[in-house]
């Protein structure tokens, strides 16, 4: 029972992390595309500013996935 709950928790947590990261990356991509469409000459700066936020976001999502994996590995 406890093991089943651990597996369920890890699975649900993984799904939630993916949903959150997907929403965040989607917003970032939309913002970047709009920004470049409005101001094509500033593409380099816009991409640079987006990259940093993207990588920080990705780090949080990866952290969530690592903790989900730890639930599975340390379930006993």
């Amino acid at each position: 029972m406890g093991v089943a709950i651990a597996y369920a928790g890890a699975g649900i947590g993984l799904g939630l992390a993916v949903v959150g990261a997907g929403l965040g990356i989607g917003r970032l991509a939309a913002g970047t595309a709009e920004g470049i469409a409005r101001q094509p000459s500033a593409e380099r700066q816009i991409v640079g500013a987006t990259n940093l936020a993207l990588f920080l976001l990705e780090g949080v999502a990866i952290l969530a996935e690592v903790f989900c994996l730890l639930i599975i590995l340390l379930k006993n």
Binding site: L56, G59, I62
Partner: protein
């Protein structure tokens, strides 16, 4: 926290009749078990100095990077003309890319000469350590061992084959790299502003006193969270791709076992596993490049934040 799952003992796999994808996947990404290291070394001050596979790969990659880069640069410095020739071109593209997109926007001109070597070393080392995972050296060696060499259970070759080849997929390795960034951040702030002023720069001056009670703990926590996030990002990304490829490949054996015939496994392999694994391997090439870039970019950003503390 920094524990790495130990590889299962190979005998258990050989003796076990049922195929266990979990053990197989962990065995392919984790370090060699401490009970069977590659080279036995004594324990000093409670630290077991034995060389495991990740340490071995770390040294191999570091030595390769050092020899190749030094040779290239030495040859370039010694030649008459300033136009690079041969493989030096590739190195120059990489160095220029890092200089233009990572160092110059983040670290001010005055300090960039001091920190460029560190950032470039990070980039080249992490890139090469990541790329080793894309080359199936140890899988080919394993095949050769199985069909040609027949090395014994305790032979060096057998111990070398087991475990993951990606040193940067180990949390301990990336934690060490992130620690270098952490120390470099403090050093950069200290050199630019002096020791006391660097710590004062962490919080903006001239705020009401109650705000500092909230702000100072937050800044201290974020100071330690940054290297922690660097550690986790690199290691988890490098391990994650391998786990995904192995899990998808495992479907072949899972289906073959489920239906009791190898035909089912071969079918799912042709239709599903192999195309998807090839696609994920393609993504892995991008991930390898991006993660090396991200680590260097964030290191440069943190160093730049300590230098250009404009509160």
């Amino acid at each position: 926290m920094l524990m790495v799952p130990q590889a299962p003992v190979p005998e258990a796999q050989a003796a076990g009749q049922a195929f266990n994808p979990g053990d197989l996947i962990l065995g392919h990404v984790s370090n060699t078990p401490l009970a069977h290291p590659l080279i036995h070394l004594p324990t000093v001050f409670g630290i077991d100095l034995s060389v495991t596979k990740h340490v071995f790969m770390l040294w191999a990659v570091a030595a390769t990077v050092f020899v190749v880069i030094t040779t290239l640069v030495q040859r370039f410095v010694r030649q008459e003309r300033l136009v690079p020739a041969g493989p030096m071109n590739v190195l120059e593209i990489g160095v220029e890319f890092i200089r233009d997109t990572v160092i110059e926007p983040n670290i001010s001109r005055k300090w960039s000469d001091l920190w460029t070597p560190l950032i470039l070393t990070f980039f080249l080392f992490i890139l090469c350590a990541n790329m080793v995972g894309l080359i199936p050296i140890f899988d080919v060696l394993g095949l050769l061992n199985h069909y040609v060499f027949h090395a014994g259970e305790d032979a060096f070759l057998t111990r070398l084959i087991h475990g993951g080849p990606v040193a940067t997929g180990n949390y301990n390795v990336t934690a060490a790299l992130a620690t270098i960034t952490f120390i470099a951040t403090i050093l950069a702030g200290t050199l630019a502003h002096g020791f006391i002023k660097h710590w004062k720069n962490l919080v903006p001056p001239g705020l009401p006193a109650p705000l500092y009670v909230l702000l100072i703990p937050m800044e201290i926590v974020s100071m330690f969270v940054r290297p922690f996030a660097l550690t986790m990002r690199l290691a988890a990304n490098m391990t994650g791709g391998h786990i995904a490829i192995l899990a998808i490949t495992s479907f072949v054996f899972i289906f073959a076992g489920m239906f009791g015939t190898w035909m089912a496994g071969a079918g799912i392999g042709v239709v599903f596993s192999v195309p998807l694994a090839v696609g994920i391997s393609g993504i892995e090439i991008i991930v390898v490049l991006v993660q090396a870039y991200v680590f260097t970019l964030l290191s440069a950003v943190f160093i730049g934040m300590a230098i250009n503390a404009h509160h």
